[in-house]
């Protein structure tokens, strides 16, 4: 019984850590946007890196995705889907951006 409640506490702590981390990152993102304005690409780079960090925090602490041996197949699935996703998004942005430059809808 004690061991169970000990494990329960530990797992709950994991969730609370994940929640606290995500909360902190959210406040950081909106704080930066509020403090420095959102017009410059440098600020946007910081915001997107914080967003990426938050994705990882939530994947680890909420969805329990890690490199443990037993969940490797599912990790493969996730990594493969991410690759497909990146090809779709980056490919689209590349092609359409290139097209826009050639059509002179955006300046070189």
């Amino acid at each position: 019984m004690d061991k169970r409640s000990e494990m329960h506490r530990r797992e709950r702590r994991r969730y609370v850590i994940g929640y606290g981390g995500s909360l902190l990152l959210t406040f950081a993102v909106f704080g930066i946007a509020y403090r420095y304005g959102i017009e410059t690409p440098g600020v946007y780079l910081a915001i997107s890196l914080l967003g990426l960090a938050q994705l990882i925090v939530q994947l680890v602490y909420f969805l329990h995705i890690d490199r443990r041996r037993s969940s490797r197949e599912d990790l493969d699935l996730i990594l493969f889907s991410t690759m497909v996703l990146l090809i779709i998004i980056l490919g689209t942005v590349w092609i359409m951006g290139n097209l826009a430059v050639r059509m002179h809808t955006i300046p070189m």
Partner: protein
């Protein structure tokens, strides 16, 4: 040395206490992950369209006039908290806490989900008042293709919460229902991940590059 508990699938496992439900969940949960990942690719397409459409405002209202960051901030906090509460429901199930604890966390999650939807719909209405309707420009079409799609997923999640909450009250903790709770928790966490993409790319990206 202590051994880490074995996991048969990603996400929170039901644990050894619910071994039969855990075993039954394994294949179904993997299938559910396949669904989530194909859903992710669908969202990815909508994100790609949005990014390419960001300049196609056709003289209509742009991100700076339309987006209300305070409301987005509130929605983010609400959705994040609901992700925590659905996780707590899952823990209550795993550690055999009284059934009302699970239903309680379900109710909290449902209320937070509905608050999120309320704020989101209010935002859409105020956008429409400023002339930001889907047919105004390519940018707005892409916006309304993506953000309400997420809202639709949250709506589906809310309906799922209600149905599953009633089933839990009526039938108790059967193996089938326990494995459904696992999948609902995965779905809800997944929606939170998509939302992070939306605030980063749609809202902040729109304000920076739009």
């Amino acid at each position: 040395m202590k051994r880490a508990p074995t996991h048969s699938y990603p996400g929170l496992n039901l644990g050894r206490r619910h071994a039969s439900a855990d075993k039954a969940s394994e294949v179904v949960t993997f299938g559910f992950w396949v669904f989530l990942m194909s859903d992710l690719v669908y969202f990815g397409l909508m994100f790609a369209i949005y990014i390419t459409m960001i300049d196609a405002q056709a003289g209509g209202p742009g991100p700076a006039e339309l987006f209300d960051l305070k409301s987005i901030f509130a929605q983010t906090l609400i959705l994040l908290t609901s992700s925590l509460t659905v996780g707590l429901a899952m823990l209550a199930l795993k550690y055999n806490l009284p059934r009302w604890r699970i239903v309680f966390w379900f109710c909290v999650t449902l209320v937070l989900g509905l608050c999120f939807l309320f704020l989101e719909i209010r935002d859409f209405m105020s956008m429409a008042e400023k002339g930001g309707i889907p047919q105004r420009s390519g940018f707005l079409s892409a916006f309304y293709g993506l953000v309400p799609l997420h809202g639709l997923h949250v709506t589906a999640g809310c309906i799922w919460l209600i149905v599953l909450g009633i089933q839990l009250r009526v039938f108790g903790l059967t193996d089938l229902l326990m494995s459904r709770v696992v999948r609902l928790a995965l779905f809800w966490h997944f929606l939170d991940l998509i939302w992070i993409g939306i605030i980063t790319i749609v809202y902040f990206g729109g304000l920076t590059y739009g």
